[in-house]
Symmetry: C2
């Protein structure tokens, strides 16, 4: 392994060191909780954006939507915490696979995969938006900033989870500390009426719908539902903790459960507090500001740039001071940790699915650094593709996002409910029954909450872009089914039944016949002949192809000069094709001796660099490819390394005194 590789990827991880990664709670929270907590960087914007469809008047509902999202989050976290022992052993993919079967597990797997992908894309997009807010010079480089964030996080993640565990504490706790200061100061200022108004407080939002209808009855319900759907991104990080219970320090379940609760509580409180301050400062964001936002009675121009609400609020609380910049940097940091969470969760998930043979086996291969390298590459490449399309347009990405989260949560909770019901059937002890029933009720309520949320999200987002996600999940499941079918076919084909068939598997072919392919009589051929003779086959034969008479004569002459006791057969190739005559000859030989195995020796010189192959006619490669399609055959390649060898039969320093048999 090169020095560069070692620097980028870190030291190889010996097998004995693999199981030892254990995260104490203080490290688990920043690493695994980053996904959930960081969503308060963009969730408020999404809620405001949606409410702004009804104009500025809709914004007063924002704290309430925040409460709704927080409530659902706590409900989900609560259920999960309750059932941590179910999830802990397996992770939700295996849980669903065991309790609900293969197809639901594949749907969950595909949903989670899409969800991890969108975590990366949304976090990078949002990080790019915050960087643009503190450094407007980056605005034209929108996509490039987002792509750089993805690639940078990929580079950090390939250093492994241990490394990320160490560094993740800094941005996460910095974010929590700074944000707490802003929120406490802001809430105090608001209490005493000292809070400044945000810059965007006096902007006017052009409502997209009839205002009177929008804020009454069904209109209001739809509006709130849509805002809730967007805000629900805050729930996306929950499963990261679920699937990583094994990384917690002992007692694992207790630690995981309390981390989960802590994370849920933090995210809920932060979300509601931010939304409250948004309301108080009058900060605004809208989708498509060029069409729907007016400043001083005129539409904002083409070059108008909208800052994230968290930035606006911080700016209002600490006007003109360093805090907005500091908090933004910390936000970018925690968003990168969220990305890192996805970069750890995705490969764990795909490797499990690949072990179930629903995904290409390569996704379960670990590198010497104990990394599912192929998975990381797949995630990084697709995320770069996504942000290359969407740039820092978080709003468009959000439309694709939340469907997958609720799909997988609903499936997981259904699996737990089913398990509890089964448990209830076999539990006869009255006291235990009561506990199971209590668990069942809690889980069923959680399931109801997520199922209803999924319904709301599907109804409000399907037309906005979530259809892409549904399509993506469906396609992924389709691919999984095909991959599985392919593997099964191959397994069936290769299966060796040793209970009854061991006798047959021990049978030997009658004889071994050797055939040596002779392109020109040079050193590689002489070596192939020596090796073929040394293995003492029942019959041995050399074959040359007659393509041009002159060169054929030369081959025959030199073969005689070589003087080995091997007959040379010249195969005519009137159509200048070297492969077909050999293949015909081989097939004839096979037909003549149907119980023998044929060993075809292919002498081949190996050039030093791959590009040198471009100017060599590699007839032996074509021959080998054709020969692989035959049965009862061994393709015996005899390499000769150009520039590294001079002796046909390499004499050893030891053997130099004596000599080999002649």
């Amino acid at each position: 392994m090169g020095r560069l590789e070692r620097t980028v990827l870190g030291q190889p991880a010996h097998r004995t060191k693999l199981a030892t990664l254990v995260l104490p709670k203080r490290r688990a929270l920043p690493l695994l909780g980053a996904d959930s907590i960081s969503s308060v960087a963009y969730a408020p914007d999404e809620i405001i954006l949606m409410l702004a469809f009804a104009g500025g008047a809709g914004l007063i509902y924002s704290p309430w939507v925040g409460f709704g999202v927080g409530a659902i989050l706590l409900a989900v976290v609560g259920t999960y915490r309750y059932n941590i022992s179910q999830i802990a052993e397996q992770g939700d993919y295996q849980l669903v696979h065991r309790r609900l079967g293969a197809v639901p597990a594949m749907v969950l797997g595909a949903s989670s995969m899409v969800d991890f992908l969108l975590t990366v894309a949304v976090s990078a997009a949002s990080g790019s938006a915050f960087l643009q807010a503190i450094w407007p010079g980056l605005i034209p480089y929108d996509r490039w900033v987002a792509i750089s964030l993805v690639l940078l996080t990929t580079l950090l993640c390939v250093r492994g989870m241990r490394f990320m565990g160490k560094i993740s504490a800094i941005p996460t706790y910095a974010f929590l500390l700074l944000l707490s200061i802003v929120l406490v100061v802001g809430l105090v200022e608001a209490q005493f009426g000292w809070l400044s108004r945000a810059e965007s407080a006096d902007y006017y939002i052009i409502p997209r719908t009839n205002l009177d209808q929008a804020l009454t009855g069904l209109g209001l319900a739809v509006l709130l539902a849509r805002a809730f759907s967007s805000g629900a991104v805050a729930l996306s990080g929950v499963s990261a903790v679920n699937n990583s219970v094994k990384f917690f320090a002992r007692p694992k379940k207790t630690n995981a459960a309390s981390t989960l609760m802590l994370m849920g509580a933090i995210s809920s409180v932060l979300l509601v507090s931010i939304l409250y301050l948004v309301e108080k400062t009058g900060a605004k964001v809208v989708a498509d500001p060029q069409r729907y936002l007016m400043v001083d009675g005129a539409l904002v121009g083409e070059n108008f740039y909208q800052k994230p609400v968290l930035f606006q609020v911080t700016d209002a609380v600490f006007a003109g001071q360093a805090m907005p910049v500091l908090l933004s940097l910390a936000t970018v940091g925690i968003l990168m940790m969220a990305t890192a969470t996805a970069f750890m969760g995705f490969p764990l998930l795909t490797s499990k699915i690949a072990e179930h043979r629903y995904l290409p086996i390569q996704l379960s291969a670990r590198t010497s650094q104990n990394l599912y390298g192929n998975s990381v590459l797949v995630l990084s490449a697709t995320a770069v593709f996504l942000v290359a399309i969407f740039g820092s347009d978080v709003n468009s990405l959000i439309q694709l996002y939340i469907v997958g989260v609720f799909t997988s949560m609903t499936l997981t909770q259904t699996a737990i409910v089913r398990h509890k019901i089964q448990q209830l059937r076999v539990t006869l002890d009255r006291f235990k029954r009561r506990r199971v029933i209590r668990d069942l009720i809690v889980t069923a309520l959680g399931l109801l909450a997520t199922a209803l949320s999924l319904l709301v999200v599907l109804l409000t987002k399907l037309a906005q872009g979530a259809w892409i996600t549904v399509l993506l999940i469906t396609a992924t499941v389709g691919i999984m089914l095909m991959v599985r079918k392919h593997y099964s076919r191959i397994d069936n084909d290769l299966e060796l039944d040793l209970e009854t068939g061991a006798e047959e598997a021990r049978r030997l072919p009658s004889r071994v016949r050797a055939v040596i392919y002779v392109p020109r009589v040079r050193k590689p051929v002489a070596r192939a002949v020596a090796y073929a003779r040394a293995s003492r086959p029942s019959s041995i034969e050399a074959v040359a192809i007659n393509m041009h008479e002159d060169s054929t004569k030369e081959i025959i002459k030199r073969w005689e000069q070589l003087g080995v006791p091997v007959p040379l057969t010249v195969l005519d190739s009137p159509y200048r094709d070297p492969v077909t005559p050999v293949m015909q000859h081989i097939r004839e030989l096979k037909q003549r001796s149907p119980r023998d195995v044929l060993v075809v020796y292919l002498p081949e010189y190996i050039v030093r660099h791959w590009w040198e192959n471009l100017i060599h006619r590699r007839t032996v490669h074509k021959l080998a490819a054709q020969l692989r399609r035959e049965n009862r055959i061994v393709i015996a390649q005899v390499p000769w390394n150009i520039g590294k060898e001079t002796e046909i039969i390499t004499p050893s320093p030891l053997a130099a005194q004596g000599d080999s048999r002649g």
Copy 2:
């Protein structure tokens, strides 16, 4: 070979049929003369374009430039005809290689290659221009028409020279017949003053240089030199005949010589006649008409389209009749035949150079249709690339064109002159000496003419684009030198000296040791074990890699169940890399037995379609690639074809009664 392939490429050509292609003169002229004759379709335009730099007044010199080009053409053809016996046996590449050495031959080869390429590009571009003249709807599809012409000719050419010899007569003789009618009628009309003026006769050309200076003294000389350089494209076809003497019917040399003369005479007469009629009809073309052409006192608009002068002249002679369309179609036809000439000459040339090992050996490989398929592909692809850039802009392509022609002609004639001088030294007979001296003088004059032309062309065209050609030729020669060096190194390395080294080449390694790679104990492994055992090696061993403990246990268990007398070695791979431990083990084995050869059996299942490999981890491929870098090794691949096989040791229908040994 598939039916489609046979339809496109024609029947395979058996070796015995290859030497029989002979072209009678009536077929040789249209096929081999097309390149030269077809140049009258665009050479007049190029002469006019250049003279038009000095405004409309310059055009009166056009017939004189035509005379100059015609004279040089006849001089070259005359010299070549004189020396046909020199060139006949060899073609000019071999002639120069023999008389002047390797580097001049490479320069000639590279020049001719570039020249053939530009013949294809210019002919396709000009053909596209004529099609646009008769069907203006094609004007926006400029590039696509030119590309289609290249691809269409490629398709015709892959049917082979015999086929082209048959069909080429039609367009060539049609072109000659129609053009003769136009010219005779036009000359008669001009004589009697009945000739109409061309549509462009009243256009005004804005001179680019000061008119008074341009048409006197040095200015005039430069102008004429530039016009001559452009018109000299008419000489490009001469070497096609030179290099194809062997295809002529007997007496080959006489027939070739008279075809050459006939071709030169036809081209010269046509060129001068066309230019005379251009002068009489006042037809005009300019480079960049949007800037330099005025109609009715105003610049022509963006959409102005300039027709080729041959079309304009025909239109003037046969106003409003079908003749312009018919002649244009015949012109496109003969231009395609010119392209075909290049498609035949280029592969012949590159195959000779490749036989000298200055170009990749693949270029000398012939397909079953006796076609240098790779050369045809290279030429077609690069020509498509060129016309994709230049479209039907013949003028820009012409700037690249003519340098190569004169470079190769000058080299060829230098070679002949040197040969004649050498001949003179050894010829003592007075009568013979006189003949040699006469030959020498004629050839030297021819050489002088082409060398001077080359000088004029270089001086006038280098800045216009010919530098690209010079660069291309230099780069090609550089590549040739590198290729040759690479091949020489490999030849030296592989050379087997049988005079003194035959004894050594017959030595055998001491023992054969077999190592079987065991990924999982399935049918392919059982087969590999059977084949390895059947070849009775001195020692035999199976190796498995311990990557995951569970699967390793499974392998060990199943190996014991299999019950073959082969010990299984489990190699530990703590870093999850299956290749390195095997390689280390192999190297240790080799070190322990330095006079033995190691046969590494790699069981491999072969999937039906290449894309199925994408979802298989092909460890055996990686292993094979690494093993190829070793010496004293045989890589024995044992294929198992998925879906085609069921038995480990295939029992034959014959062997089914008896049974194989246990």
